[in-house]
Amino acid sequence: MPEGPGTDAAQMLDAAGRVRATLVGLLRTGLQRVTTGTGTELAAASQWAHHARMTTVERELVALQAQVEKYLARDPLFRTEIFVDRVCRLAWRLDEVVAHLERGRTVGELVPLVGQPRRSYEPVDAALLVVPVAMRTWLSDTGFMGVTAQMWAPGIGRMVEAGLARPTEYFGTDPSRLVHQMVNEAMGITMQELAHGAWKLEGVKLSADGRLSLPADAWARQAAFPLADALASLRCDDLLQVVDRLMDDVLAPIDGGPAWIYLEPAAIGARRVDDTRTEATAVLLDKRGAEAILRVPLGPERRGQVENLAHLGAVDTRPDGLVVQAWVVGDQLHLEPITAVFHDPVQVKQRRRTLDVQLVHLAVEPLGMVRR
């Protein structure tokens, strides 16, 4: 029987109440008295969230269950403050869901808050102009690796992303190799080609959170490359502006994730690799002389970024600008360098090819091979 429009909301309200009651029960019990049964309760709660289509809540509950198991296993990496943060963030999210539903908002409007079990993609009628500004590599806990291109779409005034994902079981753990694979057979361009220059995409579909689906009948045509325009929306003149841009997110109870920033640094210091903290760092100075730390976590998927961090400050290879992901942690500004931007095209030698580019994607392209 088809469900009525209000059924989802009612189910969500019911599940939110039950999950919250589980959290209240968790506080009543306290960490010192949790048992394996607590984990079972959290698993049951994650099922309620699943049936109510609250994907984010479901994931948070699974993560919370993992925290409880860590506590029970006397894992030295368990931190009570992280556990408290996680419970309270989840409770806050649930309260927001209830408040929105009681104010008459529809379930569809709550997608940014509760997520979606499966993304829905809407066809884009006109040709979509996209200007790539960054490319990231990633490796997931669930056995997948991938490469994702971040692109500015001036027609819709937002960032969109397209990517490739492959199981690590068959393809290994080095996602940088994926950039040489075709986006899809029909388009006939590789991820690396997609990530340089601008493209007019036809026949593509777009999800609400900005992910592009490139079906077999999609078509890509090269377009003019207004890089400065694309970066203008991400541009911060100095580190102070970066912090101001992040301030709303700093004060929000639920994090929005790191922000994309374009910055033209005055200088970049030498790379330092800290194996204890499993990170590579370099000092960045802005035009006012203010200082921030460029930070890249060590990991197989970030090998290229760590390698390239050493070339960011070198005279021959120093870029004019950087696209970074930025966030505030305590009283520190963290910047992860993603793309080196050159105002005039440079040549990059990679394998047997020489690319003529303005962007060097630090995760997958060797900055050390740049020739001006």
Binding site: L31, W92, D95, A224, D238, L251, P345
Partner: protein, 557 residues
């Protein structure tokens, strides 16, 4: 402030460790002093929520305790993160003010005079208002090396898609554009933060100085002399060779058809690297090295030359392009034997008459007149082929077209089946025979069911696409373009198979316009130069040029 906030965080941890059911005995006694300390530090609301938490714990109300601790967490988190971010902000703010760096590029108005295109490189040459030579060079994302003037130019310099025609027809306004000054000129390249803005439509207010014959590097006016010999064109200026590219060659061919084998023009040229490049000539300026339309024939001259029986067909075919109204054209064609009339019919074996019958029907149908029946000469040829006579593929294609367009396919189904059975296997490269056999396969016989008809359509489409691909492969390997008649019929079949406009079939073949222009130009320049009446070859060449949308390359429109 850090101290009391750390105490609050510790309280939260203690609460969660012991639980609200049986809280740590010291927790309640600690809540009061911590709340007071927090209040003294100025965080009044956080203090109030701490007291609410204490009350909820005392009352044993778990739900209220959870809500109160959540409020404590939210306020604590906000305060801690806000304070840390503010501290970070103050630290960053303490640095010196950034120096404002003025853009040190060139700002001014640029008057483009022409361009040198060696795809994908584009060098646009021109002068500023003081007459200084300036060049903008770029490696384009996309530029057509032959028809750069009207084809899309995806420019890194403009960071936009436009045409060279648009860019050369207007002034450029530049602000702080970076460039490199050399001894003779200033060279600009695509810049990150700035790009030229197209200004007003170009008016030549500036007199471009002459370029002396000894000049080896510069831009200016000079005479260009082109002479056609047995080996082709020789173009020179001031004792130097002028770069000759396919676009200029076609324009000179068209000019020579009217002016003769020697062409002399006052032009703006670029002298560089031991040769000269023709940038523009004439008033208003035209760009014979960039625009295949730079030299064209006047419609009146073509109209006058379109005489005789084929001329009548041509007048209808070209119509408005040469200033012949449709009714006038059709009227003049009516003076010749009608396709469905047996009166005045030449003999069945007269190929000229058959071809004319086809073309009359073709242009009449294009002008909106429905054929009253298949042309008798063509029908006779078709029946003759069924009876075993040797008939060429072109004539049979014409006959099939005539029968098909006048709705006679069902009536002639048996004849078509016989013709199909009698045709020899098409040899590799025999394009007309291959197209004919594909069409006989499609139209020979009556489909017994809808499924049968669909299968035939699919097989036809597949065969035609295969032939098109084979032609593409041959063209890529030997570079020899098929004949006009082959282009015409293959284009017709491709357009039919794809459900497109059959009269524009040649444009569907995916052949580069440079090759199409060159092939049509070879026939048409010879005709214009000969000043005689047209024949079937010329009509075919004009039909292919029109079908591929290249009529404006030859006729002033």
């Amino acid at each position: 402030m850090r101290g009391p906030l750390d105490d609050v965080a510790q309280l939260l941890r203690t609460l969660w460790a012991g639980g609200s059911g049986r809280p740590d005995p010291e927790l309640r006694s600690e809540l009061g002093p911590v709340a007071d300390a927090v209040e003294q530090a100025g965080a009044v609301q956080l203090a109030e929520t701490l007291r609410s938490l204490g009350e909820a714990l005392a009352a044993g109300d778990d739900a209220a305790a959870f809500q109160a601790q959540l409020q404590v967490w939210v306020r604590l988190r906000g305060l801690r993160r806000g304070l840390a971010a503010q501290a970070l902000r103050l630290r960053l703010q303490s640095g010196p003010e950034a120096e404002v760096v003025e853009a040190d590029g060139w700002s001014g108005v640029f008057l483009p005079l022409g361009a040198l295109v060696v795809a994908p490189r584009v060098h646009v040459h021109g002068v500023d208002v003081e007459g200084g030579w300036r060049t903008f060079a770029e490696q384009s994302v996309r530029v057509d090396g032959y028809d750069a003037f009207a084809s899309p130019w995806i420019s890194r310099l403009f960071q936009a898609e436009l045409t060279l025609g648009e860019a050369l027809g207007r002034t450029w306004e530049l602000t702080g554009h970076p460039g490199v000054p050399t001894a003779r000129r200033w060279v600009g390249r695509p810049a990150f933060g700035t790009r030229p803005r197209l200004g007003r439509t170009r008016v030549d207010v500036m007199e471009i100085p002459s370029l002396s014959s000894s000049e080896r590097m510069g831009i200016g006016r000079a005479e260009v002399l082109a002479q056609r010999g047995r080996e082709g064109w020789t173009v020179g200026s001031g004792g130097q060779r002028v770069r000759l590219d396919p676009c200029l060659e076609l324009n000179l061919d068209k000019l020579a058809a009217v002016e003769g084998a020697t062409v002399r023009r006052e032009a703006v040229v670029l002298a560089s690297q031991g040769e000269r490049v023709l940038l523009q000539w004439g008033e208003p300026p035209s760009f014979p090295t960039l625009d295949p339309r730079a030299c064209r024939w006047a419609p009146e001259a073509l109209r006058k030359q379109a005489t005789g029986s084929w001329g009548a067909v041509l007048r209808v075919l070209l119509g408005d392009a040469i200033g012949v109204r449709e009714q006038e054209g059709l009227g003049s064609m009516d003076g010749f034997p009608l396709p469905d009339s047996s009166a005045n019919l030449p003999g069945d074996d007269d190929p000229e008459a058959s071809a004319q019958a086809f073309w009359r029907q073709w242009v009449a149908l294009r002008a909106g007149r429905a054929p009253r029946g298949p042309a008798p000469t063509l029908l006779a040829a078709l029946r003759g082929a069924a009876a075993g006579e040797v008939v060429g593929p072109e004539r049979l294609l014409q006959a099939l077209w005539s029968v098909e367009r006048s709705g006679g396919l069902a009536a002639e189904a048996a004849v078509l089946a016989q013709v199909a059975a009698a045709r020899p296997v098409a040899r590799e490269g025999d394009l007309l025979e291959a197209v004919l056999q594909a069409r006989l396969m499609r139209h020979g016989g009556v489909a017994s069911s809808e499924g049968d008809e669909r299968a035939r359509v699919d097989a036809y489409r597949e065969r035609v696409e295969e032939e098109l691909a084979a032609m593409g492969r041959r063209l890529a390997s030997d570079g020899v373009l098929p004949e006009q008649v082959e282009l015409f019929w293959l284009g017709d079949a491709v357009a039919e198979a794809r459900g497109l406009d059959r009269e524009r079939g040649a444009g569907q073949l995916g052949i580069e316009v440079e090759a199409l222009d060159r092939a049509a130009g070879a026939v048409l320049c010879r005709w214009v130069k000969g000043r005689g009446a047209p024949g079937e070859e010329e009509v075919l060449a004009w039909a292919v040029a029109e079908g591929s949308g290249r009529l404006d390359v030859f006729i002033e429109m």
